[in-house]
Amino acid sequence: MKKYLLFLLAACFLLAGCVTKNPAFDSSAPPSVDNPAYVPATNKTDLLLAKIHTQLDRAASLNAASAPLNPYVAPIDTGLKTTRTVVDGIFGAIALAGVVAASIKNKLANRRGKALVTLARADTNEAAIANAPDAGVAAEISAAHYEAAEVKPAS
C-alpha cells in the first residue's frame, strides 16, 4: 500500500512536470505560428508525424543518393556474384589443367629417357665391331659404347 502510494505520488509529479514543461500548456509564451503552443493540441500529432515523414523522406533520398558513392556499402548483385564465381572456376580449371599437363609431360620425359637407354643398349655399334681388326679391339669398342651410353651391358 505504501509502495502504491509512493508510485502514485511519483506519477503525479511526473505528470505535473510534463504539463508544466510542455509548451502547449505554456500560456505565457506569445502566440505565433512558430510557437508550438499556438498550435492546438489536436494538430500537434499531425505536425509531429509530418515532421517525422519529412525527415524519413529526406533520409531516404540522402541514402539513395549516397549509396553508389559509399565504399562501405557493397552492391548486392547476385548476377555479378555468379559471374565472379564462374570466372574463378574457369581460372581454377585452367590452373588445374596446367598441373595435369605438367605431370603428363614429366611422365613422358621419363619414359623417353628409359627408352633412349634401352635404345643405346640395343645399338651396339655393330658395324665398328664387325670391322674391328681383332676381338680385343671389338671388345674395347663395345665397352666404350656402353660406357658412353652410361648403361651396364646386358647380362
Binding site: P71, Y72, A74, F91, I94, A95, A97, G98, A101, A102, I104, K105, L108, A109, R111, R112, A115, L116, T118, L119, R121, A122, D123, T124, E126, A139, S142, A143, H145, Y146, P153, A154
Partner: protein, 59 residues
Amino acid sequence: MNTSESARVPVWFASIAVGAMLVLQTWMLTEIVNLKVQVAEIKATINTPTAQMNLHKEP
C-alpha cells in the same frame, strides 16, 4: 571495408596471369605431343629384330 571488394585483383593482372597460363599450357601440350612421337619412334626402333638381338647379346 568489405573484404570481398578489397580481395579483388585488377583486371589487367588477371588477364596477364590467364594469358601466361594459356601460353605455358600450349607449350606443354606441344611438348607432350613431341615426346609421344619420340617415344613411339624409339620404341619402334627398339622393337626391330636387330635391336632385340643386340639387347640379349653379351658385349
